[in-house]
Symmetry: none
Subunit: 203 residues, 4 copies
């Protein structure tokens, strides 16, 4: 363990640190944590192996800082999307937009998404981080909905269930096209189900 891990202050150093994080995270997202080594990370970041350990405690630390920087982009980009209308009257449209957005986003970071999910399931701290972030995002979405006139009652729970439904649907659509599953139909069933969850708000 290097006791002299430094927090870079000069602009160039900060950029270098970011480069390492990006390179490390990209590689891990592409090949998995165990199939990525520090030499590869250093090479991709355009630095020497030694410098890596002046910015990071260990290989794991690179992953973790990467998670902090980039996992929102992969898992929770919806709330940043300005085109989605969260108004009650646009509910049906909103759900459809969220699904569309989710799927297109998943498709871009397909492998990354899966590799990170793998880590969430195998590493305690990654899991902790992810679930905390997930809770924050559910809360944020809840707040947005309240602002748009949704009833507060059970809202957190309903939002959570809704996110799960969307998540499962999209995952299904993207990854494991079962031949005998009708995805158009499934999408409509999911949307109906979500609407039912919010039936009190939708008159």
């Amino acid at each position: 363990m290097n006791e002299l891990v430094r927090e870079p202050k000069q602009k160039r150093a900060i950029e270098k640190k970011e480069k390492i994080i990006k390179a490390g995270f990209d590689l891990i997202c592409e090949n998995g944590y165990y199939n990525t080594n520090t030499a590869q990370i250093a090479k991709k970041a355009g630095v020497s192996t030694g410098i890596v350990y002046q910015y990071f405690k260990d290989k794991y630390d690179i992953l973790f800082e990467g998670l902090e920087r980039y996992s929102d982009e992969i898992f929770f980009p919806i709330l940043k999307n300005k085109e989605i209308s969260f108004e009650k009257k646009d509910f049906d449209k909103m759900i459809r937009q969220m699904i569309e957005y989710y799927i297109s986003n998943h498709k871009i970071s397909n492998i990354a998404h899966e590799e990170i999910m793998a880590m969430i399931h195998s590493d305690k701290y990654v899991a902790e981080f992810y679930y905390k972030r997930e809770a924050e995002m559910s809360s944020a979405l809840k707040d947005i909905l309240i602002k748009n006139g949704f009833t507060e009652e059970n809202l957190y729970e309903r939002v959570h269930i809704m996110m799960g439904l969307i998540d499962n649907l999209c995952h299904e659509v993207i990854y494991h096209k079962h031949d005998d599953m009708n995805y158009e139909l499934m999408r409509e069933l999911v949307i109906d189900t979500i609407k039912n969850l919010f039936k009190n708000d939708l008159v």
Copy 2:
């Protein structure tokens, strides 16, 4: 890579192979694939390291055969449960039983479940295997429901959505107790949601 992997025919040999699979799978489930080595597996199985490579192409092969043998126990034990009534008139009870069963089962194989989920997300072939099995199980459940009087229309899709809802709920309950989430409430919401999915069958 050993080209001479043999399929054991004698009884003792078959038992030995099974021992290795069991030992390997147990260890991987407990500590993860990358944190389990072949020496440990051999030791736990009570065989020499060398013999392992007469039964298996490589370490990965042990995992895979383990998956084939034991993953159902971890992921899809519900259908084997004789106490669950799948009749239409017991629908509410059925859902509750499934949730109960799912949770108690998860709790037992907590770590195993997570480690395998990790592999599903990081390994193409494990994923393929799992999703195929998942589809088979959904089909089987669908058939059971049909036998018990459920409408066939969209049934496969509805079953899939239902399983996802239960899965998310249980995962939530078991792993990441968010302080501000009311799980009793959530459970009832999920059950209502599922009932809504099958409203045509439930008059």
Copy 3:
């Protein structure tokens, strides 16, 4: 840390372990612990680097087992010397023989002696081991002297002081020939001093 360090049972394996200990100890004695690496040890022992860690927990472990095997040869060979007479009447001769023996022995394992002394001074466990062994040897010498008619009173302490005097003298003679020091004279002074320590036994 390798949990699977094995204690070799087959003859060839035991020989191999001994070879590693010998190679490691020799290299450490010649170049010092920090200037010896595991690859060198393996090479000198004629084995691969990997095998080293099947017999030893770590590099330090090699050193320590070497100490247990060989340090007596370097530090306390006197008692094994059959030619030395420990009888009271031969006291003067005995001292001279011990000095001779010590010096010739030191000269052979000159560097080894110093490298181990270095470790004794810098490593807690090596020190502990050495001082325990030293005490055992002083006790053994005491017992021999008692058997040869020496008074038991204060004998342990007198033996210890005697050993220190011989040690210093020999070290002086071998390592740092100070130009202005007369070693012949010093030797005689030391012998006289020792005789004085045992004057009650020597009439």
Copy 4:
């Protein structure tokens, strides 16, 4: 190897160099040469790592200059002690004072003493330096004794033997309390032995 090591002439530069030497020596004394790195030294000295190599050829050089500055304090402080009377008539008292002083001094710089001893035994140049200094100190002590009326004959050799006896005794007392060794007794035996060495001077 840096060919441009400069000898600092300005006061501030000299102070900086001294700071590095002190920091380096302190750290090495505490943790050993191999467990001290240049970054730690620079940090403790309050300078940058780069500057170190403007004042010193390499890490070893820092150690060596430290030795030159500070080793006397650790190994030969006795001669500087004004309270010790070296007169013939106070001989018994002198020996006792020296032993006391030695022990209390050892106790303070316990670890430092051992770490430097380790280097003396493992490094040729450190050994050379130390033994030269030791000889100078013996000479100085000899001169003091002559001034106080001691016979010159064999004095250098007798002083050396005496120092060795004290050294061994103190080391014994401080480091490895053997349960079965009577230290009070040993001390008296050593004092008697030393007196015997100087019996011609003590009538």
